[in-house]
């Protein structure tokens, strides 16, 4: 007996469904990422990603290793980006610091986005859950990101995990609301009504019609949210809520660097370049995706 016989019957759309995204649109987004501004963005983000992943192999010293007699040395052959006031190699610290931002950008943001999308999809189908969820999202959005950060740090104490939790809390309502807009528009379409007539369940409609239709705005928002996350990490480290002192993050390095800008103007240059490259790359990606969507 073949497996397909025991499978429950599900409604299958016949032929192209009007209003549903065809393969053409997916190609358009991919095209935007491989050409022009989008490609520059992908290259920039890819470069930072590579530096972060290969960090431990590339770094000449440990992230907290103190080198004798190298106090605030300028950039040179031994130390490409110089050393800090505690005799640590800035290049090594920057390479390790990137990893914190990578966790925040490529783990925390997607987790927050996925949770937000899931909650938004499921709750917006029924009026009662919709009202409850949307008011809850409003409530979360009502706190400025950093106040939320300070509040969550009061519960969890400073650290990378806390920064990740803060990012999830910031992004969850953003994606929840975005998905809700899609649900509202798509469920009014005639093809959704038609599929309900042939017996489609809410879950099936959400999965097959709503989600594909909201993928484009979600991708654009994902890129924007990732660049916001880099700033939130930086700001939290700057206020002393992020990574704990001996360990580096891009935010804490920039903070130290700018504090010593007078004595050691080279200090902030490396980490600041990485942050700008990362944010710029993500912005270019989001811009090119948004443009491809409108075209």
């Amino acid at each position: 007996m073949t497996a397909s016989v025991t499978e429950p019957l599900t409604p299958v759309p016949v032929g192209p469904v009007p209003g549903d995204p065809g393969p053409v649109r997916a190609n358009r987004l991919r095209h935007a990422l491989l050409h022009g501004r989008g490609r520059v963005g992908v290259v920039l983000v890819g470069l930072v990603l590579l530096l972060g992943v290969l960090g431990p192999l590339l770094a000449p010293y440990g992230p907290t290793e103190q080198i004798q007699g190298a106090n605030l040395v300028g950039p040179g052959a031994g130390h490409w980006l110089g050393t800090d006031e505690l005799n640590r190699d800035i290049l090594s610290r920057t390479l390790y610091g990137i990893r914190v931002d990578l966790v925040v950008v490529f783990a925390a943001v997607p987790v927050g986005a996925a949770l937000g999308v899931l909650l938004g999809l499921v709750t917006s189908w029924w009026p009662v859950t919709d009202v409850i969820a949307q008011r809850a999202f409003d409530l979360l959005l009502a706190f400025p990101a950093l106040i939320l950060g300070i509040l969550i740090t009061a519960f969890l104490g400073p650290g990378v995990f806390t920064v990740a939790v803060v990012i999830v809390a910031i992004e969850l309502p953003v994606f929840g609301r975005l998905v809700r807009t899609s649900v509202r528009t798509v469920r009014e379409m005639p093809f959704v009504e038609a599929s309900q007539v042939v017996g489609a369940t809410p879950w099936w409609v959400l999965r097959k019609h709503v989600l594909p239709n909201s993928l484009e705005p979600l991708t654009v928002q994902l890129a924007v949210s990732m660049s916001v996350a880099v700033f939130v990490e930086g700001a939290m480290s700057f206020l002393g809520l992020g990574v704990r002192p001996p360990h580096p993050s891009l935010g804490s390095l920039i903070k130290d660097g700018v504090r010593l800008l007078h004595e050691a103007p080279f200090f902030a240059a490396g980490p600041l370049t990485i942050v700008v490259a990362l944010v710029l790359g993500l912005l270019l990606i989001s811009q090119s995706l948004a443009e491809a969507r409108r075209a």
Binding site: A154, A268, L272, V276
Partner: protein
């Protein structure tokens, strides 16, 4: 319009009421106890119980909550636990500093955005567009605290032309010229990202407006492009921009925390930070509620202005 107004007002009140309960509960869940902060490490059990009773923390949750709402309604917030002084005056002092700074930044950002985007659209020169796009991207891609610190180092340390931080000693209103000197650097640092977002949005809206049929008609009638942009396209592009401005106000208040930290600006951001770290419940819960109220109000005002400027929003009913 009345129906639209009432429905928006109702939803705003609901969010605020829910927020007040949520904040009150949340603050009491934060690990660490104001009693141990106040009593010190080697206080006896009796003295701790006495402090607890004096602060009213021994009563049940709802009784404390109702009491607090009553105090709020009478605007009598009582003394703070730790920071010293009356909660009301602590907050109003901080609020004045933050509001002046935020409004200054908002005006800078809005004025800058209108000038930059109309210039870009009216002249439509290639070099101008590239320049604006580059400055815009730079303003978004460099973190606020880095811009703020660089501004201090350049204009206050290297070339000491402006004060490095603090608020004007004589207040904001008695000597406006001196107050302005104190406001310029923090205001610029705060305004830059908002300016970038607004300029990008407004330029895009103006370009969209210029593709509309009514512009073609106006051009056919011989009205110069500059006049069309200034008198018609700008007016049609502004409603949506006001909504974006409202959203920017929220992020400005968030950014104010960072800028206040860099410029030693005694505003609400610093108060939140100090309040939470010293478990000063009366200060923190009012501040958090205040941030919710500001958010809800800006959303409300933004929606209403939008409805007033664009009749389709209010005629299509409640969304």
């Amino acid at each position: 319009m009345t129906r639209y107004l009432l429905s928006r007002l109702g939803s705003a009140l609901l969010v605020t009421a829910l927020a007040s309960v949520g904040i009150f509960a949340l603050i009491r869940l934060v690990p660490g106890d104001p009693v141990s902060v106040l009593a010190g490490p080697d206080a006896t059990a009796e003295s701790r119980a006495a402090i607890r009773a004096e602060l009213g923390l021994d009563r049940p949750f709802w009784s404390q909550y109702v009491h607090w709402i009553g105090d709020l309604a009478r605007l009598d917030l009582g003394p703070s636990y730790k920071l010293g002084g009356d909660v009301g005056s602590l907050i109003s002092d901080g609020a004045l500093n933050t509001v002046v700074l935020t409004l200054f930044a908002l005006v800078l950002a809005a004025a800058g955005a209108i000038v930059a985007s109309t210039a870009a659209v009216v002249w439509d020169k290639r070099w101008l567009n590239s320049l604006l796009s580059a400055v815009n991207t730079a303003a978004v891609a460099v973190p606020t605290f880095a811009t703020a610190l660089v501004l201090v180092l350049v204009f206050a340390v290297r070339f000491p032309v402006l004060p490095a931080g603090g608020t004007p000693p004589a207040g904001f209103f008695s000597q406006p010229d001196i107050a302005l000197q104190y406001l310029i650097l923090p205001g610029l640092a705060l305004a830059l990202p908002a300016w970038a977002a607004l300029t990008r949005f407004l330029t895009e809206s103006l370009r969209t407006e210029l593709r509309q049929p009514y512009v073609t008609t106006a051009r056919a009638l011989g009205i110069p492009r500059r006049r069309i942009v200034l008198t018609q396209a700008l007016r049609n592009a502004l409603p949506a921009t006001v909504t974006v401005l409202g959203l920017q106000l929220g992020s400005l208040l968030g950014g104010a925390i960072l800028v206040e930290a860099v410029f030693a600006w005694p505003g609400l951001g610093r108060l939140v930070e100090q309040g939470i770290s010293s478990r000063d419940y009366p200060v923190v819960q009012v501040l958090l509620l205040l941030s919710v109220v500001v958010f809800v109000l800006t959303q409300l005002v933004g929606d209403l202005i939008h409805a007033w400027l664009d009749p389709r929003v209010r005629l299509n009913g409640v969304s």
